[in-house]
Symmetry: C2
Subunit: 209 residues, 2 copies
Amino acid sequence: MPERRPRADATRNREAVLAAADDLFARCASPDEVTMAAVATAAGVGKATLFRGYGDRAGLLRALWQARLGPLWAEVEQGPPPLGPGTPPRQRVAALLDAMLCFKLDHRHLASALESSGAGSPYGTEQYARAHRLLRAELAGLPGQDSDFTAHALLSAVRADLVVHLAAAPDHDREAARTALAELVAAVLGDPVDRRADLTARTADEARP
Amino acid sequence: MPERRPRADATRNREAVLAAADDLFARCASPDEVTMAAVATAAGVGKATLFRGYGDRAGLLRALWQARLGPLWAEVEQGPPPLGPGTPPRQRVAALLDAMLCFKLDHRHLASALESSGAGSPYGTEQYARAHRLLRAELAGLPGQDSDFTAHALLSAVRADLVVHLAAAPDHDREAARTALAELVAAVLGDPVDRRADLTARTADEARP
DNA sequence: AACCTATACGGACCGACAGTCCGTTTTCAA
DNA sequence: TTGAAAACGGACTGTCGGTCCGTATAGGTT
């Protein structure tokens, strides 16, 4: 079997569809006002081409997400610290969550499209499973609670629709959000340094009668 | 204006619809195989009666959720400790989250129906706003991080689809889940007792070269 | 009991959208 | 050049949420 490579027009159209979809999701307020027909038209392509290329709506969303997430994930898997492997667990977990928050802030439209109209719940997607496995593995090297549940809980703090909700607030501030998340992570991990300082200060305040 | 009360058949039908919907959601695997027509038929009622009574699908879901959640919410607002008011913040937050976890475990089908096919994201519903306000208020009385974000993060740890996902695992154990959540809450709140003990142990381990 | 009307009922109907089918066009290797 | 595999596109279908409107009924009035 000579293993033909795909035809030129096919790959060209794949690209066009992804670009068109990205653009439309960015432009529209709600993900589900972006119909498959609209994507097809915007990409200058027939509807069947969408479905042939991606199976269904959820497939298109997943592919688009995958394409955008690719670089970040590569950095996580084989990049330098603090995202890459070989980083001490505490720092890597913090870096991972910070990166996810930033990524989702930068790709809100896609993120919410994926979660809401995408494929029901994010749990059960391969993406989620990978992120969860990684996080759980890092947490397992740390003292403290049930690493499986903790990984879920940390990931849930950067879920797309929560991020979208936070970012939609009139007084939203990216850096403040990152700080708040970092503090949460530190608290959950029981960061020895911050926690000790924090404890000390609080004790000093409260102990004074 | 004499403020007529609704006709007897109207209220009877309202009940019937709620009961039928609850039953159907419990019986079906995925929430969106429960069509409005099916609910109408199961309730022995015309489709228009559903829409007249609840506006749209999301409205029906919300009403159903509200009806089931009512008792719990009443307990939170005016019941005895630890759920009711007057409880010390740490304990009340823990009790609230535990209660939410249990409630969602007991009403998985409804919970996931509400979140997935319901009305897109839970943020923006009055229900969520109330829970968030309450939690934030309790957290504000505690030292530590940004109480607004922390409230969101804690609530996200008991989101319906996460709970459903956890409960679907073959080795799921209700008590273990409650414990894991309680530990998470303690960590996030920086529970002074547990935390200090924990710190001591860990420091002793790590400090030794 | 007969009557009257606001209120509610129900199922035929509509528009929209995800997903499919099939005749036509394009690529590309021989 | 040619022919067949690969890809295309838009008309078509099935389903579902939601509406419309003629009909039935509750329940107050006489």
